[in-house]
Subunit: 253 residues, 2 copies
């Protein structure tokens, strides 16, 4: 039985902790700087919790899920013995962990995490990186417990993956925000777009996105595009023009 300590009590730690419990693998303990966060996650998972850096129990895996720029400060003053220390961040180099432990690695589950929502780890991929075989085997065991698919990537490729996720998740979501603004101006509810959005994503399961592309930009339909640009404020018009050009360019490749 892999002994796991969660460092951090935010969205990622909460979702991973709950998934471990669902698999019957309770974490050993939760650490957080904030007592209320540590306590509430510890109670949720039915395990020990602490705010004392010196009180971490001996474990096989210490999983750090705190904000990217807080990782160093957080680990300062902790001891990990022969345990593996791994972080869960997309854009942070594994080497940030080198000053703190002998066995280090990364376990980056590619998903958007909210405390309130259960994550189905069997459907996602965790991108792992390990400095040595001890770290690698521990991370693979951990992935097996979560029943998560695993792919090994180095920090550079993981960074690229995170960048791709920003486009596909964060930027795609913002396109929906702008669509919502436009509907709002016409007194129409955002919900009316949901079946269209669902179908747009449904197609991505069957076709590469460049083949699923529809609309005036890919058709090179200048008439409709001019009509649309005339309705947009300067900032939305700039986005419209830039993305439409990019769509058209991709269609010519």
């Amino acid at each position: 039985m892999l002994r796991v300590v969660l460092i951090g009590a935010g969205n990622v730690a909460t979702c991973i902790g709950r998934a471990l419990c669902r698999q019957g693998h309770q974490p050993l303990a939760v650490y957080s700087r904030s007592q209320s966060s540590a306590q509430s996650l510890g109670q949720l998972l039915g395990c020990d919790w602490t705010t004392d850096k010196r009180a971490l129990p001996a474990a096989d895996l210490y999983l750090v899920s705190v904000k990217d720029d807080a990782i160093g400060d957080c680990l300062q003053g902790m001891s990990f013995g022969n345990g593996v220390l791994a972080h869960t961040a997309g854009s942070v180099d594994m080497r940030i962990l080198e000053p703190y432990a002998k066995h280090i690695g990364v376990f980056y589950p590619l998903q958007t995490f909210s405390k309130s929502e259960e994550v189905d780890f069997t459907k996602i991929t965790a991108y792992i990186e390990a400095k040595d075989n001890v770290s690698k085997n521990t991370l693979l065991s951990f992935a097996t417990i979560l029943q998560t698919k695993v792919r090994e990537v180095d920090s550079a490729r993981r960074g690229q993956l995170h960048l791709a996720a920003v486009f596909a998740c964060n930027f795609a979501n913002h396109m929906c925000t702008l669509a919502g603004d436009l509907l709002n101006e016409a007194g129409l509810p955002f919900e009316d777009l949901l079946p269209l959005i669902d179908e747009t994503v449904g197609k991505l399961h069957r076709l590469p996105p460049v083949e699923a592309q529809t609309g005036p930009a890919v058709r090179g339909d200048q008439g409709v595009q001019q009509q649309h640009l005339a309705k947009l404020d300067q900032q939305k018009a700039e986005i419209y023009r830039l993305i439409s050009e990019s769509i058209y360019r991709h269609a010519q490749l």
Copy 2:
């Protein structure tokens, strides 16, 4: 029983025709300029088909689903008697139909249509516009047959809706194309992003998109953004910068 003639045999006409048949309301006939298109849709729906503008049967509703800039040419030389003539386009003003029939209207089902895929009309909204009560009642009867939700909008608001759909569907899809490019550079498959994309859209069913927004731009995380910009070519960098600014601005509202 509403007598319907479909004018056009493309994606929209095919999906509407099949949905009518599923509801036990076979169209009376299909018209298309192209014999092979008219014939294949007629046979698919088990109804008459013609390429002769003078051979349209008397009907209650003539539904035109041809390319936006082909509507005028297509209708030239047809007679609609007391039937209602309606088109299905997002960005075309209803008044384009005025020269051709007494009773006119618009029936714009907000969805992306492909011949190969069944559309569930019970889940979508049709935006209707009618010049008079005859048109309106006929379009409402038609929506009832398809079990489609209905909202009345004028041509200006419908244009705004189509513009919003370009952002939420066409532009969001292109964000996935760019993400696919970035993954490809790292030798990673697009499929790995699908669970993340599915969850991004899943959240839109529960939260307004501005509240569902995550990522470095909304957090104002300049460190990660600079790291990302350094990895992008000029065109992607320009898109990244513009959208990130827009995300940040929306978060301050």
